[in-house]
């Protein structure tokens, strides 16, 4: 006999009111969760995965509402049955672990009290028992010093600790279903792994079913029994996790799997990378030759285009008393060399100092000590405006946030023209021709030039940012988390665009990222940073093949889905 399903979603439709019309965000979704099972909904941003989950507990944001279909919990219809029906289930039957640990705890209320609220509201505990139970729950969620922690405010917790508190909260009243909405995507990979492992153990022990919402296919496949792939509000494919991963049928799932950096075949990648590198180095050498014979730019065309030596950055923070300043060492004695036509990746978690290194190399931030040499010239010795502009021409950044890295008031044309105008390059007609060429290089149509950044998608904006960075024909591009904010498919496209440009133009990349999985696709050398220091420095093959440091191994281990065999 089959067990009875815990949650059955049938032909669910959710619409948001926009102006005078309804826009459907979820269109006919079917989904079944059995008791004790983990089911994952996988999709990109805008796929409707979170909306589906929020519809279950009737917490749709804004104007969202269920327009059709049914949601049955434990055999009982709960969609459109009035507020009270669902509220009775919240907390006690269905728990929620929300996405962003930073914004999901009330900053003004002690963590312990916020968990106590669940117990009291659902009549799980009373009086003195409440405090005791709160401590137990926090301990259970893997928080050390639970008794003291319960008396603290959320801001005294790290991101990982907050997420543990939220897990304690979601499980406090022992629900039968836990909705985990991207529970770890805001956390560092190593923390992410710890927390997911812990959540797995807990829900297994308690027999809680989990509806896991995630954008990460590897993570979903690793954690879930059953997978539901969503795309633009519809389910495109669903079935047993491993089966979908190894034998995807729908073109969208195929694309998703082939784009996921953590799932890609290593051998294939290494091959592709070697080809790109060969071409890029060739092109770069020609370029270097040229540069060496002109007076306009500086540099001698040596093997290493950027050399950082003993870079250190100390920030002075105000201490407890005016004379007691605290020194914070953000970057501690970092040295590396970037070979012409290759990519060096700097990998680290938040707070590792990797972006500070990037800013120092870009001469946006003065190092406390140490030097950056561009093509043999110490950049701190560049005094004249002419020389400084020459340096700017040869080294350009692409930043992380595609929404903040373009001035919203500049049209795309103006955004790409700005570097040309600043350096007084070309006539009006020449500039226009150059902008056409650049847009073409990043595969954007000319018509995009009239548009403004807010009209473009994240991937398109990042293409514009790349076009802008290339406008001055730099030798080095510094990519500071340039693909981190993008969806997997878009990320894959941008990465292959970057590789293409590298081999064509002989660019050298300094690639800053927290995501080790991406590094394999684009980098030749890797620097692993932790707390301002370089812990490991080697070629990509060495880092992946035989990591020397415990920290690097932990980072590699934490890549979701890394261990899944794809028989292809």
């Amino acid at each position: 006999m089959n067990p009875t399903p815990l949650l059955e979603i049938e032909d669910l439709r959710v619409a948001f009111r926009q102006g005078k019309q309804d826009v459907e965000a979820v269109r006919g979704v079917n989904l079944t969760v059995y008791p004790g099972q983990t089911v994952a909904i996988v999709g990109e941003s805008g796929s409707g995965k979170s909306t589906t989950a929020h519809a279950v507990i009737d917490l749709l944001p804004g104007t969202g509402r269920v327009t059709g279909g049914s949601i049955r919990f434990d055999g009982r219809e709960i969609a459109g049955q009035g507020k009270k029906v669902v509220r009775a289930l919240r907390g006690s039957q269905i728990g929620l672990v929300p996405q962003d640990p930073m914004s999901n705890l009330n900053p003004l209320v002690k963590v312990g009290r916020q968990i106590a609220e669940v117990l009291v509201a659902n009549d799980v505990a009373k009086g003195k028992d409440v405090d005791r139970r709160v401590v137990e729950l926090l301990e259970e969620a893997g928080l050390p010093n639970a008794e003291q922690r319960a008396k603290q405010y959320p801001h005294e917790f790290s991101g990982g600790m907050r997420q543990r508190a939220l897990i304690a909260m979601g499980l406090a009243a022992r629900p039968r279903l836990l909705i985990a909405d991207e529970p770890t995507s805001a956390l560092d990979v190593t923390v992410q792994k710890q927390i997911l492992d812990h959540l797995d153990v807990l829900t297994d022990d308690l027999g809680v079913a989990v509806l896991l919402i995630t954008h990460d296919l590897g993570l979903a496949a690793e954690r879930a029994d059953h997978l539901v792939v969503m795309y633009k509000g519809q389910v495109v494919e669903s079935g047993p996790a491993l089966e979908i991963l190894q034998n995807p049928q729908h073109p969208y799932s195929k694309r998703l799997i082939s784009s996921a950096p953590s799932l890609a075949s290593q051998r294939l990648l290494a091959q592709q990378r070697a080809e790109v590198r060969e071409q890029a180095q060739e092109a770069a050498e020609e370029l270097a030759e040229e540069v060496a014979h002109t007076d306009a730019e500086f540099g001698g065309g040596g093997d290493y285009v950027v050399e950082a030596e003993h870079l250190t950055k100390v920030f002075t923070l105000p201490g407890t008393a005016p004379w007691r300043k605290e020194d914070f060492v953000a970057v501690d004695d970092v040295s590396f060399r970037l070979r012409r036509g290759t990519t060096t990746a700097i990998v680290g978690e938040s707070g590792s100092g990797k972006s500070t290194v990037a800013r120092m190399v870009l001469d946006l931030l003065k190092p406390t000590s140490g030097t950056v040499r561009f093509d043999g010239v110490d950049i701190s010795t560049l005094r004249s405006k002419q020389q400084q502009l020459a340096l700017r021409r040869q080294m350009q950044p692409v930043f992380q946030n595609p929404y903040a890295s373009l001035d919203p008031q500049y049209s795309i044309y103006r955004a790409i023209e700005e570097p040309l105008a600043t350096h007084k390059i070309g006539s009006k007609a020449e500039r226009e021709a150059r902008i056409r060429e650049l847009l073409d290089k990043v595969s954007l149509p000319w018509s995009v030039s009239r548009r403004f950044p807010n009209e473009l998608s994240g991937g398109q904006r990042q293409r514009v940012a790349i076009a802008r960075a290339l406008a001055l024909q730099p030798e080095v591009v510094i990519l500071d988390e340039a693909v981190s904010a993008l969806d997997v498919l878009v990320q894959a496209q941008i990465l292959s665009l970057l590789a293409e440009l590298q081999s064509e133009l002989g660019l050298s990349y300094l690639f800053i990222t927290h995501d080790l999985a991406v590094v394999r696709q684009i980098a030749d050398d890797v620097l692993v940073m932790e707390k301002g220091r370089v812990v490991e420095q080697a070629s990509v093959e060495e880092v992946y093949g035989s990591p020397q440091q415990e920290y690097t191994r932990r980072l590699l281990d934490a890549i979701p889905g890394g261990s899944i065999e794809l028989s292809r």
């Binding site: 507990i57 917490l59 944001p61 804004g62 507020k83 509220r87 009775a88 919240r90 907390g91 006690s92 728990g95 929620l96 929300p98 996405q99 962003d100 914004s103 999901n104 705890l105 009330n106 900053p107 003004l108 209320v109 916020q114 609220e117 669940v118 509201a121 659902n122 405010y153 801001h155 939220l166 909260m169 979601g170 406090a172 009243a173 105000p318 201490g319 407890t320 008393a321 005016p322």
Partner: protein, 308 residues
């Protein structure tokens, strides 16, 4: 924390000095002969004149006069008014009246503004919300003295519920109508601020999480929405006390209340230098002290803020 307070007080000193210097300079530029004003139309002999000039330091350069004023003020001597009474005495009489008036106005605007703003925010887009929106904008658009007259006419003249003017007896009950008038504009701001803040908090992630915990709407609104929404409102109210005391100049004129505003207004009309400078100094002092209190209040209300 102690260091933070210390630093803030250090920062306040130049503001305090600068403001008195500014107002002192303005008063110094006032035309007219203070000695003539002091003696009225009576003729003054040269000897008496120079004696008074020395006594009041009128013969010294401006900057020295200012420093001497500061020195005396620090010892509680704020000079003499034209009526021959020490300014400090006048302040001691008027400050409590105006403080009482401003405090009542503050309570009225806070209670009404927060309640109305909270409900308007919860039921945004509803009839109550729209009514309150238009009301608040209207209150800001109409000059306060027009409201003063209307209230005076309605409650004082027509209905006779309240005295038309307050006069010498500034007791609580007689001050209610003036306090309401005084607090009206700030009421509009409190209402709007509360409403905006409530609406913002209603869509906050942690409020959704609170709902997911199984709390009722009432519990969520009280414990998570209202409380978090009040932080900007409370800091606004703190800073508003000074504004109200300064705004009393109009209200006290209409209702003839013997407060600081009235004193200031008469002093300005009669160009009574020491009184003007003293009143403004008091106002600046209130502003400086209240902004410090507001900052500390903020830290107390919001545990995230830690001053070092």
């Amino acid at each position: 924390m102690a260091w933070y307070i210390g630093r803030r007080i250090l920062q306040a000193i130049p503001v305090l000095l600068g403001s008195t210097l500014l107002i002192y300079a303005m008063v110094f530029a006032m035309p007219g002969d203070p000695i003539v004003a002091l003696f009225g139309e009576k003729p003054v002999s040269e000897a008496v004149r120079s004696q008074i000039e020395q006594q009041y330091n009128l013969d010294k350069p401006f900057f020295v006069q200012w420093l001497l004023f500061l020195g005396n003020a620090a010892q509680g001597d704020l000079g003499m008014s034209f009526s021959g009474r020490p300014v400090s005495e006048l302040l001691a009489e008027t400050i409590p009246v105006t403080f009482k008036l401003a405090l009542m106005a503050l309570v009225i605007e806070a209670v009404l503004g927060i309640i109305a703003g909270f409900y308007a925010g919860l039921k945004r887009g509803g009839i109550f919300d729209s009514t309150m929106l238009v009301t608040s904008l209207l209150v800001i658009a109409v000059p306060i003295f027009v409201f003063g007259f209307v209230m005076q006419l309605t409650f004082g003249v027509k209905l006779g519920w309240a005295p038309v003017t307050v006069g010498g007896d500034a007791s609580w009950d007689r001050l209610i109508i003036p306090a309401f008038v005084l607090g009206l504009v700030s009421f509009a701001y409190v209402l709007r601020l509360t409403r905006t803040s409530v609406v913002e908090n209603l869509t906050a992630d942690h409020v959704r999480t609170a709902r997911a915990k199984g709390l009722t709407d009432g519990q969520v609104n009280r414990r998570h929405v209202l409380r978090n929404s009040l932080i900007p409102v409370v800091t606004y109210l703190g800073a508003d006390l000074g504004t109200l005391m300064a705004g009393a100049i109009v209200t006290e004129g209409i209702f003839n209340i013997p407060g600081l505003g009235n004193l200031a207004f008469r002093a300005i009309q009669q160009k009574e230098g020491p009184t003007i400078v003293s009143v403004v100094t008091v106002m600046v002092l209130i502003y400086v002290v209240m902004s410090l209190i507001v900052d500390l209040l903020y830290a107390w209300l919001d545990p995230r803020i830690r001053y070092a």
